[in-house]
């Protein structure tokens, strides 16, 4: 009987799932993802989470509940820091505790700490700790981890190539026929907003349906983004925020996009700063900017209206620039 490990389809899932899936499968475990976000997961998450958490954290709780009775372990690592001198949102740091105290009757959690804020020297030790839930054989773990890294790199390349991991499944590559004059719009935000189609009300799909070519931060050259982000006056020590600000600087510089849509969830502490800076910079480069705030709403009218108006505005601008104003 192989060990069954459940991975909740939320938060860091969209950044790392191929790494962890490959790692545990190489070790002989069976991996089960929670279902794609749906109404039941949302309802359960909202009911079983502290009130003031943001929507993605609530959804994560829902995903954990979804896995509860199906697996031997649930994978909820304690993500403190992934890059040197950088941190992830405090809710990520306390996630295993939060989940454990909010939900009763859980199977054991794989809550190993990931902390590379000082250095990455502990990388293999961390990998060993994660692997030890399945096997105690360090050689096997090392081999599995190397294979997992390969899968992870391939995943990153694929996303960079324009495949969007919506709900953790690759959408067909860029729409095959993209008209020459189609708009390209950067959709920025944390990965768990962008790729969760239920939580984000399918914004990416809606844009693609409107023949917009979508650019996400993950498609960009990370070295360049890191370089630009390091020009900031003060180091942005939230990893997600740093990536977004680097992307903002890049868009302002390159001017290759027609507009920016920022997806944020209500009550996000990091976004309260990052979003505002992003908006100011976009405006100073006169790039059209739209902020979409998501919460528990299921009525899509508000989001649709804003999207439509935003696309109209960009069309109008483009037409105006070529002196073909369609309006009086």
């Amino acid at each position: 009987m192989s060990v069954k490990i459940g991975i909740p389809r939320g938060l860091w899932f969209y950044d790392y799932f191929p790494l962890w899936k490959t790692f545990y499968e190489e070790l002989g475990a069976e991996i089960i993802f929670s279902d794609k976000t749906n109404k039941q997961i949302l309802d359960q998450g909202v009911k079983n989470c502290v009130d003031e958490a943001c929507l993605p954290v609530k959804l994560f709780h829902g995903h954990v509940i979804n896995l509860k009775d199906k697996v031997d372990y649930i994978f909820v690592p304690k993500m403190m820091s992934v890059y040197k001198d950088e941190y992830i949102c405090p809710k990520f740091c306390g996630l295993p505790e939060m989940v454990n105290h909010s939900i009763k009757g859980l199977p054991p959690l794989i809550d190993t700490e990931i902390n590379f804020s000082k250095s990455r020297k502990s990388l293999m030790i961390t990998a060993y700790r994660f692997g030890s839930y399945v096997t105690k054989n360090p050689i096997k773990i090392r081999r599995a981890f190397n294979n997992a890294l390969m899968a992870y790199r391939k995943y990153r390349e694929d996303v960079k190539d324009g495949k969007l991991p919506i709900d953790g499944e690759f959408s067909p590559k860029k729409p095959s026929v993209v008209a020459n004059n189609s708009k390209s719009i950067a959709v920025v935000g944390h990965t768990y907003h962008l790729y969760d189609s239920y939580g984000s009300m399918s914004i990416l799909q809606k844009l693609r349906d409107s023949k917009v070519s979508v650019i996400v931060p993950e498609m960009m050259n990370m070295n360049k983004i890191n370089k630009l982000a390091s020009t900031l006056e003060k180091k942005m020590f939230w990893s997600y925020g740093r990536k977004l600000l680097g992307a903002a600087l890049h868009f302002g510089e390159s001017r290759e996009i027609d507009g920016i849509i920022y997806i944020s969830s209500f009550g996000c502490g990091i976004d309260s700063i990052v979003e505002d800076l992003f908006e100011r910079w976009s405006r100073s480069h006169s790039i059209p900017f739209l902020l979409l705030t998501i919460d528990e709403h299921t009525g899509e009218a508000g989001i649709n209206t804003r999207l439509e108006a935003f696309l109209d505005m960009i069309d109008w601008r483009v037409n105006h620039e070529s002196d073909l104003s369609p309006h009086g």
Binding site: K39, I41, H327
Partner: protein, 327 residues
């Protein structure tokens, strides 16, 4: 026979219908309460507007806007379905030359639209909170026991406005109650509320934006002279309220319909007779997956017209209809 264009704006609080001719002249306008029954409101609007028409007209195009635009489009057979922001922008541009900034406050929405060289350059809408919109004012007027139409005039008589918290409607209300218990004059409290709403609007939506004049204030709340005055005081410049401010969305629709008719000379308009049709709405919760979508069916005279609300499209695709993509 005069060519006419019909614009319908189905909002959360009011449903507006405007009929306009080729010379952009308003032949008739109706402002009626939606009261949570958009279908009835559209039918009532059509009935009233057809009563206002003198002479022989032909409807060459129809456009709908507002949060109920898809529903309205399905009922009347619209040629254009447009979001409120574009509709309001177009209307303001055509009626106030050189407008740079539009404030629009409706029942549940408030928006700010910036224009540059005659095109929309930026906009913002209230986010998750509807504090400071028309329905909140309605409620407060009802609580104070005065009619909403007198609300603005009362504010103008205030000599010593009190400060009311404006960040959140719930806080504003409790702050107001507290000020009432202290014995402040009603008009001072009302003016304080107007100031608070304006402060909230400018902080929330106007944040970081260059609010250049001429500024146009439209939407139902523009009828409120108190709010207009508070805006003028806060921004230190004149605020222009167009004569048909409450139906500007519908006017924008008329202009869009006219533009559409100029390009394509046929309309989907079902005729004014549809106001006599019986509409029925059926709702159900689809239990085929854990999304439990709330599916709505619209039935006209016993015939299924449309379905929407399902995420997977299983139900809506079964009905061949123009309005598959519904919010």
């Amino acid at each position: 026979m005069e060519n006419c264009y019909l614009g319908i704006d189905v909002g959360s609080v009011s449903t507006n219908v405007v009929l306009m001719n080729d010379q952009n002249k308003i032949l008739g306008k109706v402002y009626t309460a939606t009261q949570g029954k958009p279908i009835d409101a559209v039918k009532r609007g059509l009935k009233e507007i057809s009563g206002q028409i003198k002479g022989d007209i032909q409807v060459k195009g129809v456009a709908t806007t507002g949060s109920g635009r898809h529903l309205a489009s399905m009922i009347v057979g619209a040629d254009v379905v447009k979001n409120e922001i574009t509709a309001h922008g177009i209307a303001a541009l055509n009626f106030v030359k050189g407008v740079r900034t539009i404030f629009e406050i409706g029942g549940q929405d408030s928006k700010i639209i910036l224009l540059k060289d005659g095109i929309i350059s930026d906009f913002a809408m209230n986010t998750v909170c509807a504090a400071g919109t028309g329905s909140f004012l309605d409620r407060q007027a009802a609580r104070l026991g005065i009619d909403i139409s007198e609300f603005g005039q009362q504010a103008l008589t205030s000599k010593n406005p009190v400060r009311v918290a404006g960040r959140c409607a719930v806080f504003a209300e409790s702050d107001m109650i507290h000020k009432q218990q202290l014995g402040h004059n009603q008009e001072d409290i009302i003016k304080g509320l107007c100031d608070a709403l304006v402060r909230n609007f400018l902080n929330n939506l106007g944040k970081g934006k260059d609010l250049a004049g001429p500024i146009v204030f439209q939407g139902g709340v523009a009828a409120n002279a108190g709010i207009k005055k508070s805006f003028e005081e806060a921004l230190n410049q004149e605020i222009f309220v167009p004569p048909h401010h409450e139906v500007m969305g519908a006017i924008g629709c008329c202009l869009l319909a006219k533009e559409h008719a100029a390009k394509k000379n046929n309309t989907n308009f079902q005729g004014f007779e549809i106001m006599n049709s019986g509409y029925e709405v059926r709702g159900m919760e689809c239990e085929d997956c854990s999304n439990l979508c709330e599916v709505v069916e619209i039935i006209r005279d016993g015939i299924l017209m449309s379905r929407w609300g399902d995420k997977c499209g299983k139900w809506s695709n079964q009905v061949k209809s123009d309005v598959e993509k519904l919010a």
